[in-house]
Every structure is written in structure tokens, then in C-alpha cells.
Symmetry: C2
Amino acid sequence: MQKRIRIKDIARMAGVSAGTVDRIIHGRGSVSKKSKEVVESILREVNYRPNIHMSSISLKKTYNILFVAPGFAEGEYWESIYKGIQRALNVFENISVNCSIMTYNQYDVYACREVFESALEPDFDAVIIGPIFQHETREFCRKLKMKNIPYVFVDSNVEDTSPLAYFSANHYISGYLMCRLIHSIMQNGKDIGIMQAMRVGNESANSTILRKNGFSDYQKENRLKNKIHRIPFSATEPESNEQLFNDFFSENDNIGGIVVLNSRGYVIANYLHKKKIKDMKVVCVDLTDANKKALKKGHIDFLIGQKPERQGYLAMKFLIEHLIYKIPVKVANILPLDILTRETIDLYSEFNDLVYLDQYEK
Amino acid sequence: MQKRIRIKDIARMAGVSAGTVDRIIHGRGSVSKKSKEVVESILREVNYRPNIHMSSISLKKTYNILFVAPGFAEGEYWESIYKGIQRALNVFENISVNCSIMTYNQYDVYACREVFESALEPDFDAVIIGPIFQHETREFCRKLKMKNIPYVFVDSNVEDTSPLAYFSANHYISGYLMCRLIHSIMQNGKDIGIMQAMRVGNESANSTILRKNGFSDYQKENRLKNKIHRIPFSATEPESNEQLFNDFFSENDNIGGIVVLNSRGYVIANYLHKKKIKDMKVVCVDLTDANKKALKKGHIDFLIGQKPERQGYLAMKFLIEHLIYKIPVKVANILPLDILTRETIDLYSEFNDLVYLDQYEK
DNA sequence: CTGTTAGCGCATTCAC
DNA sequence: GTGAATGCGCTAACAG
């Protein structure tokens, strides 16, 4: 139970003053090569861990951080991520951070491009990106890199970019799991319906593609021969869905289970309930308000959660720490998947709303 | 985005000095009734929230806290709770806390009595209790109350006591959920085997009883007529279990699913594997190392987690906050249940081991 | 390039 | 019973 090592201790050991050690830790130049080497070797040797709460009271700088992601309404997936970001800002309230937010239409690649373009104008200290379109995101990241602006991803990673870190679920395993779950509860030999949104430009979201791969691989690995049908669905014109579903089910009368690879599971769950279609097992993803409600009523059997709040929280936390200390952070941060049923959803929500928060947060 | 209110602000508003406000916040007497009233009303009015990280650097007092619970080996349930306690001590390392630990044999009520007796000798500032035997725990709490020592429970609450708070899963729902899960994956019409440990004095653990109730109620509510058989099992003489299981399965040949209401699920899971008994669904509770291993190999289908680490963490955190600020804490703290499968267990463990921890913890 | 000093919010100690 | 002074670990501004 030895006392934590302080800057003062490091300074004494290195034969310099505390001010010099501080300059080295924060890399604000103007130190001799010799001092730098000596101090840095001692820092490593004693594994110095700065006390961020102490730092924060004396820190003067204001950091400007941008969160750019798909737009969201209350209770939707991306709102949870934003809430997590806010929570981090509360925990580190002593540190002055301005967090701007810019959103784009996730079903329209052209809108996304425009928003990314305008996001490059101001000079942010760092950016948190919620990516949907791979190509556009890559381009955006390339420009950020040229401007020397660090960025992190939430929700999913994008290949061929160099983020400081990303905070994501493993979407492949998510799809793999959903396939296992639907099979474990549905009647053998029945067909499976899959819902997966299409976007303008005919590109599925990054995460949805990965889930689909996981789903298919589970089928292959277990030599499952159930027929898979794609259920037509429109995210942008919700009023057309009922007709689409009617057509689908009249053409396919052997469906025993439905898997929804995006966060709109409640749409089909509510449809099934309305049409009094029983004996249909449903597995969905994302704890949106609408999905939680459908789960609670028993219209969804299993709901997979991706801890979006925690993703946002960790992203902002790591960014703050990086900006202050230039600490090398772990790049790949894969969060666990939550499996929720109607029995556990209430406890889950309550806990996240109340106990989970630190008492000293707003 | 207004700045947080400081003690200095309160002092100015109340027309007293910061020292006086501090004395009132911590209740260390020697303040006039009038000052107390004025300051307290302002504290409420502005909803003053002290900054514990600032408090901690200047705090001089050392707190002595006892953790008394069933003994544990590495990777077992109670170790996780203890780990959570340690984690809280790391997060609040600036605060000087001595945490002692005393353990008792959870299968022997007489051993428990003795340990409780000797736990009353030293003068602790607070006690964290892991209860097994209801009657003995009540008696222990009664004596703690007489000595004016506050206590909290982890794992489960005990009726007719007055803890400062308790941190627990909802064991009733846990049993209810296990019943639902086993039914959703096992073949219709088969029998169910239940494992539930017996203890010296013939008293089941608090939590196990509650789980059993939940299990039974799910059956009743859904008018499920499957036969339930109790599987004989000894926690204290593990070498006798194979014979007990052999006898059980030769007498009961229609078992389709097994539910284990205590943390020893791996015992039967490994037995089934060894004996090459297929087509038997297994649902267990507690993420012990042995259970996780069995889950990963596919010998357990669903494993229910109770977040023991988080229980321990929250218990210690709340206790520290209470000791420092006498903040009224929420008494009932029910944590959500985790549902784990072989697909999700790895992500869960990794995350808990690494990312979950604050960077500034050891 | 570097040491010194002041001040962040808070608890404590010492005069009054 | 109370205000003022001191120090906790750290950063920032200044002087050299």
C-alpha cells in the first residue's frame, strides 16, 4: 500500500524541478534533450500515472471536440452514444471541453458528404465519428489527417483509416449470436426472414454487413439448411412497410423466425402483433425505446444491446485523456454484447439510468 | 454550462466563512444553530454537490472497513465481489481506507456464528456483509447497530435488518428467467432437473431460495406441467457427486433440461460431457472461472451473471461516500442480470478485465 | 531552457 | 463558535 508517486518525486529523482517534469509530460517543448531523456526513463521506470483529477483543477486550456454522426430522435440508438459523451463531460466537468455536434442523414450518402465537408472548416482539437458510409468516411479521415486532427470512431471501425481508437461492438459476432439465438428458440425446419435496410446509393451500413456475415457463417458452420428470405423494408418511407410486409408474408408462409440486423426491429414486431401472427420468434438488435417496449410486451424474444452509451462515454474519456497527456491508447476497444429479454430489460434500464451514474454527476 | 458551485460560494451566500460551511457539511459540530440552518438551506437550494476528488486530496482521516463473507478460492463468485471492493479502493486511492477481510465457511452455520462473533471485537467504521445464513446475519446486524456501526450487504439483502444499502441481483427474477430460458430451448414435454445445494443446518442460501421461487412461479404462470426433479449434490464432498448423478440419471431417463440455482453449474455440465450425454440443455448462474469454461466449451447453454464485481465496487464506493459526506444513499440497489452464451463470454471477460478499468487504476 | 511562485477546491489547524 | 492560514498534486505564468 505504498503512496502514489507524484511529480515532485519524479523531479527529485531526476534532479530537475517539477515544472520541467510537467513540461515533459505534456510535451510542451522547451526542454533540453538530456532532461527529457532522464525524466522519461524515470517515468517509465516507476510507471508514473498522473492524477487526472488533480490535473483538471489547474488546467486552463479549453478543448474543442466535434461529434459527427447520423441524426437521431429521442430514444434512438445514436442518442445513447451522445448521452455517453455527455456523461463523460460531466465526470470530467473540471476540464473545459466544448463539444459540438453535427449530424447527417444516414440514409443519404450525399447529405453525409456535405456534412463532412463543412465539418472540416472549424479547427477542432479532435473528432468523434459515427460512421455509416465507408467511402465518405475514409475521405473525411484523410482530410482530418492532413489537418493533423485526431479522431476516434464509435459504433464501428472503418478500414484503411488511422483513428486514435475505436469503440464498437463486434458486429460479426452479433450477427453470429442472433443466428444462434433464433435457431435455439424457433421450430426446426421453418424458414427465417431477415430485415436489413437499404440506403440511397444502395450501400448497407458497415455494421449491418458485418452482422449479415456473422449470421451466414453460423448457418454454414452448423450446416443449417433453413431457407433465408430478405424482408423488404423502407426506413425512409415507414408508411409503405405494412404493404411490403403483407406481400412478403402472403408469398412466404413458412417463416418461423425473424432476425432484424438494424435497430428498427420494433417495426416488424409491432406488425406481427397487430396482425395477430403468433408462433413467430423475433430476435433484434439495439436497445432503442421502441425496441425495449416491444421486448417488454413479448413481441421480441431476444434483444441484443451494444452498450452505445458506454461507447460514447469511453470515446470522450479517452479523447480527453489523450489530449491532456498524449497517452497512447488501445486502438481496438470491443465492448461486450448484452442479451436482453423481457425479464431483464427493466433492471437494465433502471440501473443504467440511476445507479450507474456517479453521484457527483448531474 | 454554468460553473459548479464551490464551498466558497456557499460561504459568501450565507455570510459565513468556508470553514464553517465545511464543518456543517461534515457534521463535525461546533457551529451555531443559526449558521447551520442558513447554510443548510442554501446547500439544498443550490443543490450543492461536493467534489469528492478534491476532498480526497486534503482528507487526513483513515477509515477502517471490514468485509465479512463466505471464503473463496480463485475464480469463484465471492472473489469477484472482493475484486470489486479492491477496485473501488484503487479509484479512491487518495482516500485512506483500511479494508480488512474475514471469511466463514458458507456450508457451516456454526463456523459463521464464530466469525461474526469475532468480527464485533475491533471497532470498524463500517462493514460490508456477504450474507448466507439469515438468522445469524440478523443477529450480527443487531449487534452492529448497538455499536452504531453502519453496514451494507452485497449479493443479497436480509429481511428485518437496517443496512445503509444493499447491492444485489434480483434473485427471484433470476430464477424466473432461468425457467423461461430452459423452456425456450429444451424439447417440449421433457422433465427438468434442478440443482440446489444443502447446508449444515439444512438451510438453503437466501439467494437460492428466492431463485427457486422465481422458477416455480414461471412454471405456474405459464401452466407448464413438466416434472421437476431435484438432483442430489454435495458441495462439501465433491467426490461423491459422480455416484449421486449416476443414480439420478438411471432413475430419471426423461430429463431434457437442467437448471442449477447455485454457482456450481460446471459440476453437472462437466459430468454430462464426460458421460457423453447429449441433447441435454443446461442453464446456470454465476460467472465463475469453471462455469465460464464450461460455457465456452458448449456444455452450458446459458449462464446468468450477477455482476458481483460491480456489487463490491458500488458497496465500497457508497460506503466511502457515506463516511465522508453522510450522504443519504439509496437503500435498494438492484443490479441487472447478464445473460451470457459461448459467443459473448470472451468479449465480456476481456472488457471487464481491461477496458472497464479506469486508466488511473493500478 | 529551467526553477519559482501562485492558485485551483477542499479539509484541517490554529488563533481569536 | 468562527475566520484565516496552510497544504494536498498539479498547471501556468513569470523571471531569469
